[in-house]
Symmetry: C2
Subunit: 234 residues, 2 copies
């Protein structure tokens, strides 16, 4: 395994969208996935499936679906406008980087699609009465926590890619055309896709991740009570 410190990896694994077409060794992808599955999942169910798309024709088709879905996304971004925490220049760069990917998704040597098989309750009338009474709430709960069983693994993928010198980015636009993606990847109806991650050796560089500071996004004990960092983070 490559030697990289945890914090080095977390602080430099920025989204890299410009990737070389050089192939990525199968063994490295396996190691990235082996790191992914160390993540937790709800009830430790591990109901994840990872589709590793390397076939050129499959990548081309997946890229075309992503392009179409991104057309929808661009309308929404335009309607929503710049997030308050970004400067005009940051927003311009963010949109330019995104637009590059809209046209080049299929060029990445590896497209990784993390999926989850939906956990379903048995039919309502097969359940004991106390559980039947909870049924609707439980369905809503499962929908709410779906991502808890896959996005921790996605973050491990991002960090493991960083360690191997691979660029990637978590994208979700394709979910706007998920039916087409599922058909292309031959997914069963109860398997949903949660991300589309281009992976390859980056043209750009890893580097620091700029974020709103902790002091602006953390509260002590209840909403509205500032969490005061006791010292500057260095």
């Amino acid at each position: 395994m490559p030697e990289i410190g945890l914090f080095d990896a977390m602080y430099s694994a920025r989204s890299l969208r410009r990737l070389k077409s050089d192939p990525v060794p199968e063994e490295i992808i396996t190691r990235v996935l082996d790191a992914a599955i160390r993540a937790p999942s709800a009830g430790n169910a591990q109901n994840w499936i990872f589709i590793v798309v390397r076939d050129a024709e499959q990548r081309r088709r997946l890229g075309a679906i992503y392009r179409k879905a991104s057309g929808i996304a661009s309308e929404i971004y335009r309607a929503r406008g710049r997030p308050a925490h970004m400067t005009d220049e940051q927003y311009r760069r963010f949109m330019t980087a995104g637009a590059y990917l809209w046209d080049h998704m299929g060029d990445a040597p590896v497209l990784l699609v993390p999926c989850l098989r939906e956990r379903v309750l048995p039919p309502r009338d097969a359940l004991p009465l106390p559980v039947q009474a909870l049924y609707e709430g439980e369905l809503a709960y499962e929908r709410r926590i779906g991502g808890a069983s896959i996005y921790p693994a996605v973050q491990n993928i991002i960090l493991a890619c960083r360690a191997f010198g691979l660029g990637t980015v978590m994208t979700t636009n394709h979910i706007r055309c998920e039916h087409e993606v599922k058909t292309l990847l031959c997914l069963p109806s109860d398997v949903l896709t949660y991300a589309l991650m281009p992976i390859g050796y980056p043209i750009g560089k890893f580097g620091p991740l700029t974020r709103q500071p902790v002091s602006e996004v953390a509260y002590a004990d209840r909403w509205g009570v500032a969490w005061q960092p006791s010292e500057e983070i260095t």
Copy 2:
């Protein structure tokens, strides 16, 4: 920052539910949160808020809500039964560990609640016509990807805690009683909670994470085509 290799952290950050009551220095919590916010979020929106609960009375009340929610969870677990990939013994240990937490959540010195402010579209009739046509699909899309903006940060929290020698676990049971949690934490109506993480110095030890192997959860190019690891992971 503590020196720990990325892979060491990912492979040993197992769920630790038995925690000492010793306080955790504020500075360390801030560093954990500073690592959390290096994670990606959908559209880089960073619409996360972290509530750090240390006040004893707030922890006691949050623990009581968690206990109530876990009562519901235990009915559901019983109805669902043992996941196919766990042995009877693994399942027994999993349920015993979970049950311990149901009764001791409030005893952890820190309860961290990662939240997201919902991204909302402007009112439909304030939008350009092409976006109005996409409105329903976009609402469904936002619900599907909600977790993409918070669970990567949750995984960074788990890994950063591991580095600082802190035990934690990602739990979601409290969402079954989320209204009570939101009232207790004074959350605005458009802020949702996504996890409840007890944090403290562990009584147990960090250790290897047993998982279904990659060969059973990965496919090449499309569903059903085995992804063959080219060598054993060592």
